[in-house]
């Protein structure tokens, strides 16, 4: 790893946040907003489940841990995409726990210069301990700005 990263940082939980309980109304509102048409996302009742992308609304309360490398310019950056691995569906009444950790941290170079990529892994579970989703969210920052 070209810049100094404390190996202890990777995989260590830096935030744990709880959301819920989830209501049927918010699942239906979300499904309508994304244009879902299947009744299982829209009709109240025992078969109602969240649209698969519903889980992306959940985040850590704390954006990053405090001990990321100081060479990273946190003021300049953007969301560089996410990989989502789905588990069990979210249902009305569920409580969602989001555990956040730095999964990967690496550097690369491009037209605009050096960049740092910070991959935050959000592990989402429900009140039964079942995995709802694993989301690896990649954030891009410029390097060299520091402080």
């Amino acid at each position: 790893m070209p810049f100094d990263v404390d190996p202890q940082l990777l995989g260590r939980e830096f935030d744990r946040t709880e959301y819920g309980p989830v209501t049927a109304d918010e699942l239906i509102a979300y499904a309508r907003a994304v244009g879902a048409t299947h009744p299982c996302y829209l009709e109240p009742g025992p078969d109602l489940v969240a649209h698969p992308t519903f889980c992306v609304r959940y985040k850590s309360r704390k954006f990053y841990p405090d001990d990321l490398p100081t060479q990273i310019d946190f003021r300049r950056g953007f969301d560089a995409g996410k990989d989502i691995e789905l588990g069990v569906p979210v249902r009305p009444g569920d409580t969602i726990h989001v555990s956040s950790a730095v999964h990967e941290l690496y550097e690369k170079t491009g037209r605009s210069g050096a960049m740092a990529f910070i991959v935050i892994r959000f592990t989402m579970t429900n009140q039964r301990g079942e995995t709802v989703a694993l989301i690896d969210n990649r954030f891009l920052h410029k390097l060299g700005g520091g402080s």
Binding site: P2, Y106, E107, K108, T109, R111, S112, G113, F117
Partner: protein, 215 residues
């Protein structure tokens, strides 16, 4: 024989293109992009265990593997990666010394060629403006499918001045871009050894299929 010498699959952090999807698209677009194969150049990594023979057999395309690494003179494609080369260099290091890489890769049986040399910051031209030219550069990527306006034009001056051979690659990160630029070889390429030998020999030229549209 025509090969796309520069493309990325889902193994690279910035691509989501499955290798099989590339092959399916090349099959469908054979009239527009008459390629015989591809060379996968994943970013900052090389996995010798990757075996694409089953896909080669199923789709009838040659599939070879290489790597794109990052150096103090910009990005460089390394062909003919072997255990000695992989042990000698940390491919994840984004500040590899280019001169050492080119010299040592050649000594160890491969060839390292600068890619998208007209690109700001990560192209050879930008570095030649402030640093001495590298020794032992055989060829540069004169056609890159990801180049912006003017970037490939800049390479012609580099080739004229230094006498480099020219090759082409799509630099595809998306399935639909595979083979838009490629390299035509005089000889048949059956293996990575063939590829390295021909690249060193200079018997090839870049080909551009971007303007070719078949209804």
């Amino acid at each position: 024989m025509i090969l796309d010498l520069h493309l990325h699959s889902e193994l690279s952090d910035d691509s989501r293109a499955p290798v099989e999807a590339y092959l399916k698209l090349l099959q469908r677009k054979r009239a527009e992009r008459p390629l015989d194969g591809i060379v996968l150049t994943e970013h900052r990594q090389f996995d010798p265990a990757r075996d694409y023979r089953a896909l080669e057999d199923r789709y009838g395309f040659r599939i070879l593997t290489a790597a794109e690494v990052e150096t103090d003179y910009g990005h460089v494609l390394v062909y003919g990666v072997n255990a000695d080369i992989f042990a000698r260099f940390d491919f994840s290091n984004v500040r590899l010394p280019a001169q050492e890489l080119i010299t040592e890769v050649a000594r160890l049986g491969g060839i390292a060629l600068p890619c998208h040399p007209g690109r700001p910051t990560v192209g050879l031209s930008a570095h030649y403006a402030t640093k001495p030219p590298l020794e032992g550069v055989v060829a540069v990527e004169a056609l890159n499918g990801g180049s912006r306006r003017g970037e490939d034009d800049r390479v012609q001056e580099l080739i004229r001045r230094h006498g480099y051979h020219a090759f082409g690659g799509s630099d595809s990160h998306l399935v639909s871009f595979v083979g838009v630029c490629a390299t035509e070889f005089d000889a048949e390429i059956r293996s990575t050894d063939d590829l390295v030998r021909e690249l060193k020999g200079g018997r090839y030229r870049p080909v551009d299929f971007r303007a070719r549209r078949v209804a």
